[in-house]
Structures are given as structure tokens and as C-alpha cells.
């Protein structure tokens, strides 16, 4: 009985640290930020920070599904670039027939959603029906999407028609109840993602597949369909991120979204999701995205560190943030 009670405490606290770890890391970062420069906690900066993390955060919510189900998607950054590019082309071409009003913007957003779903479906189908390792499939599509946007932009930048930009701008720059729209989208996606992963059968199927595909299959789960759907969700998240990205600068180029895939995966894993699948947490992912954005933000707030060493700081902070959530860090050597 004695044994069992200690066991429980150990288990409890381990669960706590998995959850609290990322939150703690974020808190420490914020304190450091404040100490470096009190204007870190100014409303303006916090708003910027939240808005910025919306891109990676939304994409990372999708990545949580893919990774939980045992997959991986390296193509998201390129996909975002390609979708932005096509969206801009479509809206620019629609000006003649549809004008520069809301209708054109909606057309663009609709196309983004369709493209996102389509691109995700391609990744999913190649992985499941084609039975190719997800890493290879998405490495391939990463190259393909990236080079397509370069091709469309002729190596340069695709820019949104100036008047449409006027119509579309508020989607990024305006606020509702003091929070910019991108943050609301982020919150919405996060809530939907959380519900989907934790409160629906689909979420359980993702976890089951990531945990043990054979078990999932033996439970009459349509493994291929669920896996494909995780990629579709990822694609959809990418298109949401794109929809709030395009009004920011109104342009897309070959350098749009470079390395977003690594950032998104890092956010997911910093948040406590297990890379091999079977265990996903949307809440952690959100925190992970905030942590990553905050690191970049803080580094812009100080000149204590050589610019050249930004990468070193980032790397160290990521490793330490994950160390913080090691379940047994309190227990010292035992186990």
C-alpha cells in the first residue's frame, strides 16, 4: 500500500510536469524578457507577439494531428508559400471581373482552403495509398511546392493588387475586443483542434494509430482514411495561416515560409507531443508556438548577445525548455 501511494504521487507529478513544463518555460522567458526590457510587456509588444505566433501556432495545431497519428509533414512551409502565391494570382486576375471588393477576397480565401485541403490530401494519399514514408513524401512535396511558387513568381515576389490589399488589410491589422483578428483565428483553430483531438472519436483514432497501428486496424478503424485526414487537417491549417498571412505584406516569394516546417514541428514537440506518435497535446503545441515566437522577440529586444549567436541562444533555449518537462527531473538520479 505504501508503495502504491508513492507510485501515484510520482505518476501525478510526472503528468503535471509534462503539462506545466512548457508553461513554466514560457513564464521564465517572459520574466527574462521583462528584465531585459520592461517594454517587453507593453500591450503593443504582447499583441505583436500573439499575432506573430498565430502563423506557426495554427500550422502547428495541424502538425499535432499528423504527428500524433505517427506521421510527419515537412511540406507545410512550402505549401504556405505556394498557397499564398496562387491566392494572390487568383485575386489579381479576378479584379477585372469581380472588382477589388470583399467578393474577390472571399474567392481568394476559398481557393486557399481548397488548395490546402488538396495539398494535404496529396500528402496523405501518397503516404497511405502509395505506402511511402511520410518523411520522403513530404520532403518531395516540399521541394515541389517551393519550386512552384518560385516559378509562379519568376524567382521574385508576387504582390497583391494594391486595391484588394486595402480591402483585405483589416484581416491582419484590425482588432476585435482588443485582440487582432489573427489571434482570434488562432484561438478558434486551437479550440477546434483541442475538441477534435480530445473530445471526438477521430482524435482517439489518431492517438490509437500513432500508438499502435495494428491495434487500431484490429479495432476496425479505417487507418488509411484517418491518416489521410490528418494531412488534410494539416493542409487546412496551412490555408488558414495563409489567409491571415497574405494581408500582412500582400506578397509571396520563394522565401515565404522557409523553415516553418521545422518551427511547427519544434512547437509541437516542445509542447510535449511525442514525435513517434500516440500522444498529442494541443495545449502544449500552443505554448510551444508562443515559446518559439517569444525567443525570437526577446532576442530582438537586447543587444547583449552578438547577432551571430542568435541561433545558439535559440538552440539552447529549445533544449532547456524540453529538459524542463522531463518527467523525472525532480527525482534526481533514481530512474
Amino acid at each position: 500500500m505504501v508503495t502504491s501511494s508513492t507510485e501515484t504521487t510520482a505518476k501525478r507529478s510526472s503528468i503535471d510536469f509534462k503539462t506545466i513544463g512548457p508553461a513554466l518555460a514560457l513564464l521564465i522567458l517572459c520574466i527574462i524578457g521583462f528584465l531585459l526590457n520592461p517594454s517587453f510587456v507593453s500591450e503593443g509588444n504582447l499583441t505583436n507577439l500573439l499575432t506573430r505566433s498565430a502563423f506557426i501556432g495554427i500550422i502547428a495545431v495541424g502538425a499535432t494531428f499528423v504527428i500524433t497519428a505517427g506521421g510527419i509533414d515537412l511540406s507545410v512551409g512550402s505549401m504556405a508559400a505556394a498557397i499564398s502565391g496562387v491566392m494572390i494570382i487568383i485575386m489579381n486576375n479576378a479584379v477585372d471581373t469581380m472588382g477589388t471588393g470583399v467578393a474577390t477576397v472571399l474567392l481568394g480565401c476559398g481557393c486557399a482552403v481548397v488548395l490546402g485541403i488538396g495539398a494535404g490530401w496529396i500528402n496523405g494519399a501518397l503516404t497511405t495509398k502509395g505506402k511511402i514514408e511520410a518523411f520522403i513524401v513530404t520532403l518531395g512535396t516540399m521541394g515541389i511546392y517551393r519550386s512552384l511558387v518560385t516559378y509562379f513568381a519568376d524567382g521574385g515576389t508576387l504582390s497583391l493588387n494594391f486595391d484588394i490589399r486595402g480591402t483585405y488589410r483589416p484581416v491582419y491589422y484590425d482588432s476585435f475586443l482588443g485582440l487582432p483578428y489573427p489571434v482570434w483565428v488562432f484561438i478558434g483553430v486551437a479550440i477546434c483542434g483541442w475538441l477534435l483531438l480530445n473530445r471526438t472519436a477521430f482524435g482517439r483514432y489518431c492517438t490509437a494509430i500513432g500508438s499502435n497501428e495494428a491495434v487500431a486496424r484490429y479495432s476496425a478503424i479505417n487507418v488509411d482514411r484517418v491518416k489521410t485526414l490528418t494531412y488534410v487537417i494539416q493542409g487546412l491549417c496551412v490555408s488558414f495561416a495563409t489567409i491571415i498571412y497574405v494581408p500582412r505584406l500582400g506578397s509571396a516569394s520563394a522565401s515565404t515560409g522557409v523553415l516553418w516546417e521545422l518551427e511547427a514541428i519544434a512547437a509541437v514537440i516542445i509542447g510535449g507531443t511525442v514525435l513517434k506518435g500516440g500522444y498529442g497535446r494541443i495545449g502544449g503545441t500552443i505554448l510551444g508556438a508562443l515559446i518559439l515566437t517569444t525567443i525570437g522577440n526577446i532576442l530582438n529586444f537586447t543587444d547583449l548577445i552578438s547577432n551571430y549567436l542568435n541561433g545558439t541562444m535559440q538552440g539552447l533555449i529549445i533544449i532547456v525548455a524540453v529538459l524542463l518537462q522531463r518527467s523525472d527531473w525532480k527525482l534526481g538520479k533514481s530512474k
Partner: protein, 507 residues
């Protein structure tokens, strides 16, 4: 015959089923039927094809020829457990749970209860809790499977099956990892289901159980149908004989007196580790020492700590008179101490590899010559092991995951013995093994002891502890409650120590 006339119509019938994996035939025109409200046991040697037949009956495999009739109509069962929608549920021989998920999630996997599109977790938890209470399993619906013991996992499998409103419930060795007590609980569930008209198919190597619970018994040998009879017409001995195809002599070897003055090869003093609180005992050369106790009493934990698989908090371990601190597993092996895990699927064998790398993995340094692995010696070792342990694979090139359960167990035993240990700890040595082979293993253990090897047998099967051990240590809640020798080794005595009704004042 009388049997046929009184019987109700069968729910499911297998008619002249044959099955081959590649060119290897494993079932030859086997027929079997299951009627509502009956327990139909299927027995046979390891590799006889029982699991294969069960998988065909539930749609996980397609038969190569023959047909399945459901309610008298020929049916092609849907694959991958989708036959559940027809009321056919299979508990696999190998545990089939998602380790990272909780008990509740596993029980309802694939048929979650929803309200308004979202999961109704409260309802599902309550249902699972109800089942757990009913069978007296002391775990919570939100516990993760990876935190459970094997026996608890098996009980979860049973809960999972029972909760599925089956018409036909097929269970492949559900009791292999259960103690007698848990088996009783389980049988109560079976009886209840049976009374409600469920047809139950049941595979087991524990022939007493088979006799006790089943109505009819089908015997397979080498993929051939031998007979189907009423349970009352068979005795365990007769069953064994029909399975093996010859008369079995005594199951247990004659007990050689242990030399009470032999040197102590292993002394454990006041060992404390996770799940172990202050355990002390000694093991002599050539002795067979049994470890008995209820599930979760800490027997495995003791030897995982001793063999370097789990950290030690305090206590001393003396191996051949030498104080060893915390050992690595390799250190223990090199010192002549080997531990055979009871969890062959998760900790014992690489299921996606062939037999040969599995066999030599534990003792691999022995096979290294000039920095390279001596493949010829490996092959010889495999041939030797197959002969010595009677591992029956129809094709020596298949991955270990495709071996029958019992043959996996034999391979695991061979793997551990490959390093010629002087002390071997065998956790549940005969789990899933047929009577014939069981007999061979008992004789093997006795022969080892006679050669001067010390053997620790951890077992939840009381007869086996009583049948082969010189001395028996009984554990309860992480501590030793008693040590029995000679005539004191009997079921009654062991149970009283194990249940905490009696406690020996230990030195």
C-alpha cells in the same frame, strides 16, 4: 448422435477450413461450430493452428479454402475486426492494446459513445468503472495501459471483449497470464455471458480449466481436426493424450533432493527498489527456488532489480560470495545470472526479426570472433536450439511475430539459455505452452538443477511451483511473507501466505 439432435442451431460454423501461409499449410480441412450459450474449448499443441482457426472464425484471416457459415448462411467475414458488427469478437492471444492510451480509451476504441458528435467520456468511464468493479480489478479507467501489469492488461482485454455485446466471443488463451483467483473471476463472467446466450470459444493450455468451464471440446493436432466431444466425456489426461497423440508420462520430473549445504550462489539482503520493500533470501547451487504470490506482489520487481534492469534503492546483493552493487544486465549475464522476462512481446523478442538474430541477441558476445559475428556458429546454435527446445516453425525463415505463441515462448527460453547461465531466473516459464512441452520444460529445469545450475521459477501456476521447486518463497505487497520447504509446499499453505493470512517471522 445424441449431441447433434439436442443441440440448438449453431451461430457460426467453420466448414472444412484449410489455411496456408505461403506454401506452408497450417490447417487441413478443419470443421467446428459454436452454438448459443455454450463454451466450446479448442485445444492442441503449440503451433497446432488454434490461433489461426480463431482468426479465420473472426475474419482476421481469410481461409484458403472452406467456408464460414453464420446462422447457416455462407458468409465472407469482413476483415480487421469489422466482424464485430456481426457480433463476433476476438480477444487475440497476443495482447492487443494501445499502450499509450488509457483503459477506457482502449475498451471503447472503434465504437466510442458519443453525444452530439462529441465523446461522452463520463458515460464511457462510468461503464468501464462498472465492469472493473464487477470483476474486482483495482485499476482506474484513466490509467494508461503502459502502467499496468500484464495480468491487468489481460483483464482489460477481457473487459473490452465483454463490453462488446457479442453473440460469439472468441478468446485465445485469455487465462495464460492470470492466476487462479483471477481465472475464477473471469470464469464467473464467462458463465454470465453463457447464460445470456453468447457462444464462447475458448483456447487454453490449462486442461483443468478446460474441463471445468467448457461444454464441448475440439482437439487439433498439427492442423488436423482430431475430435469434438462433450466435456464430460474427457479427462485432462485424455485431452493431453489426444493432443499429443501419445500417452504422456508424469508431468513433473522426480524431485532430486536439494543439497542443503551447497554453497550460496545468490544472497539478497534487505533489497529495496520500486515495488520491493526489504526483501532478503538466498539461493543455493543446484537449487530450484520458487517465487509465488499474487499478481503484483513484487516477484518480478525483485529480480528486475537484482539483474540490473531496475535501479536499487538500498540493500546488498552477493553473487557467488562477491558483493555486487548495481549491475548492468550485461554484467549480470557475464557473472552467470540471466533473467527471462514474462513479457515476451514487449520485452522478450524482436517480433519483426527472424529467429536467428533473436536467439543469439542475449549471448551475442559469445558469437563474436575477430570483431565479427560468426554466422556459422549462429546457424549451428539455431539448429541446436530448435532441437533442444522443440521450437516448431513450419518455416524457419518467418519473422518471430508469426510464430505461434507457445513457440515464441520456447524461443525465448532458448535465447536466455544460450549464454549458459549458472543462475537462471525464469518468469512464468510455461506461459502459453502446451502440456507436452510443459513436461519437457520441467524436465529441462530439473536437469539444469542436477547439473548444478540454480533456477528461480517465478510462477502464478501453483501446481508447477509445487511440482518442481525445492523451496518456495511467497511474496505479498513487495515483501516476503514466508519461505516453505518440503511438505509445507502445498497449495493451502502458499495461498495463506500470499493472501496475508499468515506471516512468518523472518529472521
Amino acid at each position: 448422435m445424441q449431441m447433434e439432435t439436442t443441440a440448438q442451431a449453431a451461430i457460426i460454423e467453420a466448414v472444412n477450413i484449410s489455411k496456408s501461409f505461403g506454401p506452408v499449410p497450417v490447417l487441413f480441412s478443419v470443421s467446428m461450430d459454436v452454438r448459443p450459450g455454450e463454451v466450446h474449448a479448442l485445444i492442441g499443441e503449440n503451433g497446432a493452428g488454434k490461433s489461426t482457426l480463431m482468426k479465420i472464425l473472426s475474419g482476421f484471416h481469410d481461409p484458403t479454402s472452406g467456408q464460414i457459415r453464420l446462422d447457416g448462411k455462407k458468409t465472407d467475414l469482413p476483415p480487421n475486426g469489422a466482424a464485430e458488427s456481426l457480433g463476433i469478437v476476438l480477444i487475440h492471444q497476443e495482447l492487443n492494446l494501445a499502450e499509450q492510451m488509457t483503459v477506457e480509451e482502449n475498451v471503447f476504441l472503434g465504437r466510442e459513445v458519443k453525444s452530439r458528435g462529441l465523446l461522452d467520456k463520463a458515460a464511457m468511464r462510468a461503464t468501464v468503472q462498472g465492469y472493473l468493479d464487477e470483476i474486482g480489478l483495482d485499476i482506474s479507467p484513466v490509467d494508461r495501459i503502459s502502467d499496468l501489469t500484464i495480468a491487468q492488461k489481460q483483464m482489460v482485454e477481457i473487459v473490452k471483449a465483454v463490453s462488446r455485446n457479442a453473440r460469439i466471443l472468441i478468446m485465445d488463451e485469455p487465462t495464460a497470464v492470470l492466476t487462479e483467483e483471477e481465472t475464477e473471476v473471469f470464469f464467473r463472467q464467462v458463465t454470465k455471458l453463457k447464460e445470456s446466450g453468447v457462444g464462447i470459444v475458448f483456447v487454453s493450455h490449462k486442461l483443468n480449466e478446460v474441463k471445468a468451464i467448457s461444454d464441448r471440446i475440439t482437439i487439433l493436432r498439427d492442423g488436423q481436426w482430431i475430435d469434438t466431444r462433450h466435456a464430460q466425456d474427457l479427462t485432462p489426461d485424455l485431452m493431453a493424450q489426444m493432443m499429443v497423440g501419445r500417452e504422456l508420462s508424469d508431468l513433473y520430473p522426480p524431485m532430486l533432493e536439494a543439497d542443503v549445504d551447497a554453497e550460496l550462489v545468490l544472497e539478497v539482503d534487505n533489497l529495496v527498489a520500486t515495488g520491493v520493500s526489504g526483501v532478503s533470501f538466498g539461493l543455493r547451487k543446484g537449487e530450484i527456488l520458487g517465487f509465488s504470490g499474487l499478481i503484483g506482489s513484487g516477484r518480478t520487481a525483485v529480480f528486475e532489480a537484482v539483474c540490473g534492469l531496475a535501479p536499487i534503492e538500498s540493500g546488498t546483493i552477493r553473487l557467488f560470495g562477491r558483493d555486487v552493487g548495481t549491475m548492468t544486465v550485461a554484467g549480470a549475464r557475464d557473472a552467470g545470472l540471466a533473467y527471462l522476462t514474462k513479457d515476451r512481446k514487449e520485452k522478450g523478442l524482436l517480433l519483426d526479426k527472424k529467429m536467428q538474430p533473436n536467439l543469439t541477441l542475449f549471448a551475442l558476445p559469445k558469437f563474436v570472433k575477430n570483431f565479427a559475428i560468426d554466422r556459422k556458429r549462429e546457424e549451428e546454435a539455431l539448429e541446436r536450439a530448435i532441437r533442444r527446445f522443440d521450437v516448431r516453425a513450419k518455416d524457419n525463415d518467418i519473422t518471430v511475430g508469426k510464430l505461434s505463441g507457445g513457440n515464441q515462448q520456447k524461443l525465448l527460453l532458448a535465447k536466455i539459455m544460450e549464454c549458459d547461465p549458472k543462475i537462471v531466473v525464469i518468469d512464468e516459464p510455461t506461459r502459453g505452452i502446451d502440456v507436452g512441452t510443459k513436461q519437457q520444460i520441467y524436465h529441462f529445469i530439473a536437469a539444469l538443477a542436477a547439473e548444478g545450475v540454480s533456477v528461480v521459477v517465478i510462477s502464478s501456476e501453483m501446481p508447477e511451483i509445487i511440482g518442481i521447486c525445492h523451496r518456495v518463497v511467497v511474496m505479498r505487497e513487495g515483501g516476503i511473507t514466508g519461505v516453505l520447504t518440503g511438505d509445507h509446499i502445498n497449495e493451502n499453505e502458499i495461498m495463506r501466505y500470499a493472501a496475508g493470512l499468515k506471516r512468518e517471522e523472518l529472521h
